[in-house]
């Protein structure tokens, strides 16, 4: 029996974040007094979970790539690919929503912020993963090369998104001597916002996992049909 309670949980959590995210009062100091965020601060509930769930999905993808290298079962290869694929879609959505938000708070959709550049590079590396996969017709070779590349891509992604932007000045919160918007993390994120944000992150992780499993189930069906 396939478990489905987590699918219901993802629906409940996401409907909750959409409703609460639009209605809760924002912390006055962060949203109005010391920044030009205003109501756009609510984007925090929608833009940021894209990146959190992308990180979760590519971590699952990494896990299956390592598993494939230890035991070359084609199923692991399919798992790794499909989780990375949904992760890349979320990354593209994160980049687009970030650009929209930046246009109205930082004054330009793209201001060469270290985090923007890092995210773009990381995404391109993942796009290259799919190009690399499709360039090899031999199943066995494709699986192994793709798994090795996927592990490499993950460990480039982490410094690009999480480490490098913290070392230089950044418009994003958390950069060195960050100007522009003050940090959304830490003290400016009040308890009510946390109550909306974290359920939202979990909801998006579950929904994107759900979509990935749909894709990989189709792939496994195709595989079965080919071998039959």
């Amino acid at each position: 029996m396939r478990q489905y309670w987590w699918k219901i949980l993802s629906i409940v959590l996401l409907i909750y974040t959409f409703i609460a995210g639009l209605l809760i009062p924002l912390p006055y100091e962060t949203a109005y007094a010391s920044s030009n965020l205003y109501e756009s601060m609510r984007n925090f509930f929608f833009h940021v979970p894209m990146w959190f769930s992308q990180l979760a999905l590519i971590t699952v993808s990494l896990y299956y790539s390592i598993k494939y290298l230890r035991n070359p079962n084609p199923t692991y290869d399919i798992y790794a690919t499909e989780f990375a694929r949904t992760g890349t879609v979320l990354g593209v959505l994160g980049l687009i929503t970030g650009a929209i938000w930046a246009q109205y708070t930082w004054g330009a959709a793209w201001s060469n912020d270290p985090k923007q550049i890092g995210a773009a590079i990381a995404l391109l590396i993942y796009v290259a993963y799919f190009v690399l996969r499709n360039s090899m017709p031999d199943m066995d070779k494709r699986g192994r090369v793709a798994a090795v590349y996927n592990i490499f891509a993950y460990f480039i992604y982490i410094p690009m998104i999480l480490i490098l932007p913290r070392l230089t000045e950044s418009l994003h919160p958390g950069g060195k001597g960050s100007e522009g918007n003050p940090g959304l993390g830490g003290s400016s994120l009040d308890a009510t916002m946390r109550l909306v944000f974290w359920p939202g992150v979990l909801g998006w992780i579950l929904l994107s996992t759900w979509i990935s499993t749909l894709r990989l189930r189709v792939r496994l069906l195709e595989e079965k049909k080919h071998s039959a």
């Binding site: 909750y16 409703i19 109005y32 759900w210 069906l221």
Partner: protein, 71 residues
């Protein structure tokens, strides 16, 4: 699962009550879509899209399950 849902519902009403409060207090700082409390229009639109998307994913899930059973 049941307790979790109840907790979420209670939490939601708590936040809703807070939202009503803030509309009365800081209304003058709100412009555009927020003026006159029309935020609920946006809310309905956003949730409709979300629910539509969920229905689509659920249908897809059912279809794939059916294929898996027949195969």
């Amino acid at each position: 699962m049941k307790q979790l849902i109840v907790t979420l519902i209670v939490l939601f009403f708590h936040l809703l009550a807070n939202a009503q409060d803030s509309v009365n207090h800081v209304d003058q700082t709100r412009t555009g879509l927020y003026a006159g409390g029309k935020i609920y229009v946006v809310l309905v639109v956003a949730v409709t899209i979300l629910v539509g998307l969920f229905l689509y994913v659920i249908r897809l899930d059912r279809k794939i399950t059916k294929l898996e059973k027949n195969g």
